[in-house]
């Protein structure tokens, strides 16, 4: 849904890039089983989750390599199919369905509600276990948004709680469960805050809730006695260092948790995403660039 958790392509070996593509196509194919609409919203985050689950379980052993014809690119592609890919696509579809429903309420649009209705829950094993959790956390998130909370971390903590629960549910032992929960929590918080900074202009125009904007209003605007109109450049300039510090604190916790995981396979791809990709994405968003120079 967000697509911030992605690798630095230039740092990947060709073999690793091909494997990443197999995961991407695998998750896309698995998602299409639930709904062909969902595959259009496919993000790198769910691909990362599929690789992480595969690396934690039994690596390449549980994955099957299959040939598949992609109707979008009109090319045959290689895909990875297996339990981890299925689980990741299920979680992604579930989150997407409720995100679309949430957007429908936000934008007061029937179109989004119609789209969410197109995503079927048939055959989703994790659906029943996760459904209640997702609904509960999204409700909590909605309450924070309606309160216009000026706490920079409050909404991010709720979103982090949701991702922590999802990550934790796939752990196999106690130690892994704690590490996965920590990883999920701080990765979710990082995603939420980074997305809030990225959507600052759009939220300002639409008047939607944005924790950074609310924090700015409570911290800086009362000093200016509300005499000035809020300009996104001013918000970004004043908030940059505060947000950067928070984001890197979250990343530090993500790195700590990731170092505790015993990965059986795909370590190089995951290392690339966690150590290089997250940092690069942070800098790309904070600097306001669309992409980094080597991706031109």
């Amino acid at each position: 849904m967000f697509g911030y958790v992605q690798p630095v392509r230039m740092e990947l070996k060709i073999r690793e890039w091909l494997e990443f593509k197999k995961f991407y196509c695998g998750v896309c194919v698995a998602t299409r089983k639930h709904s062909s609409v969902a595959s259009f919203f496919l993000s790198y985050d769910s691909v990362f989750f599929a690789i992480l689950l595969a690396a934690l379980n039994s690596g390449r052993g549980e994955l099957k390599e299959k040939r598949h014809f992609c109707w979008l690119t009109m090319k045959p592609v290689w895909i990875f199919a297996g339990k981890s890919v299925e689980n990741s696509s299920s979680v992604f579809t579930l989150l997407l369905k409720y995100k679309l429903l949430d957007d429908a309420v936000d934008r007061k649009s029937l179109f989004w509600k119609f789209l969410s209705g197109l995503i079927s829950s048939k055959g989703l094993e994790t659906w029943k276990q996760m459904k209640m959790t997702v609904v509960r956390y999204l409700k909590m998130l909605r309450q924070v948004e309606l309160r216009n909370s000026s706490n920079l971390e409050e909404a991010a903590t709720v979103f982090g709680g949701l991702t922590a629960t999802i990550f934790k549910s796939f752990a196999s032992d106690e130690n892994q469960s704690l590490a996965m929960e920590h990883l999920g929590r701080y990765l979710g918080m990082w995603i939420y805050l980074l997305d809030a900074y990225n959507d600052l202009d759009e939220d300002l125009k639409r008047g939607s809730y944005n924790p950074i904007l609310e924090f700015y209003k409570s911290r800086f605007l009362h000093k200016l006695k509300n005499s000035r109109k809020i300009v996104s450049e001013d918000v970004k300039q004043r908030m940059l260092n505060i947000v950067r510090e928070k984001l890197y604190n979250y990343l530090d916790e993500v790195w700590k948790a990731y170092d505790l995981l015993v990965l059986k396979d795909f370590k190089s791809i995951l290392d690339n995403i966690i150590y290089f990709g997250l940092q690069e994405r942070t800098e790309v968003v904070l600097s306001g660039k669309k992409r980094v120079c080597h991706q031109k």
Partner: protein, 124 residues
């Protein structure tokens, strides 16, 4: 030696079983640096990190033990010995106890299959 590693030690360290000892040592050092207890002090992961560090240390010891054990594989030629070197496997001590490298030298000079095992002879 303490407890032994319950999991596959190579998986725990994240190295292939045929990795060179130097590479394994580098990975071990890197893991020790990352799992430094000071890094996790005061976090909810403190206990997990100490468990993981213990596990890594046990597995590293296990790998060292496995690597030292004879597996009967050809390990190249030992300097000064003109016969294949099999780690941990000798038919008669470290070398021929009587003639030492003299037989090896003779075998090299005359290119003969002598009766001494250390020069490759198999007639005993």
């Amino acid at each position: 030696m303490g407890e032994t590693c319950k999991k596959d030690p190579f998986v725990v360290l994240g190295v292939p079983p045929d990795a060179a000892l130097d590479d394994i040592l580098n990975v071990y050092k890197e893991l020790r640096r990352r799992l430094n207890p000071e890094r996790y002090q005061g976090t909810c992961l403190e206990h997990v990190a100490s468990n993981r560090l213990k596990e890594v240390e046990q597995c590293f010891r296990e790998i060292l033990r496995l690597k030292k054990l004879s597996d009967g594989r050809f390990r190249g030629y030992k300097p000064g010995y003109y016969r294949p070197y099999y780690e941990g496997y000798y038919r008669r001590g470290d070398c021929c106890p009587d003639c030492g490298d003299l037989c090896t030298a003779c075998a090299c000079i005359w290119a003969v299959d002598t009766c001494c095992e250390c020069s490759g002879g198999d007639c005993i």
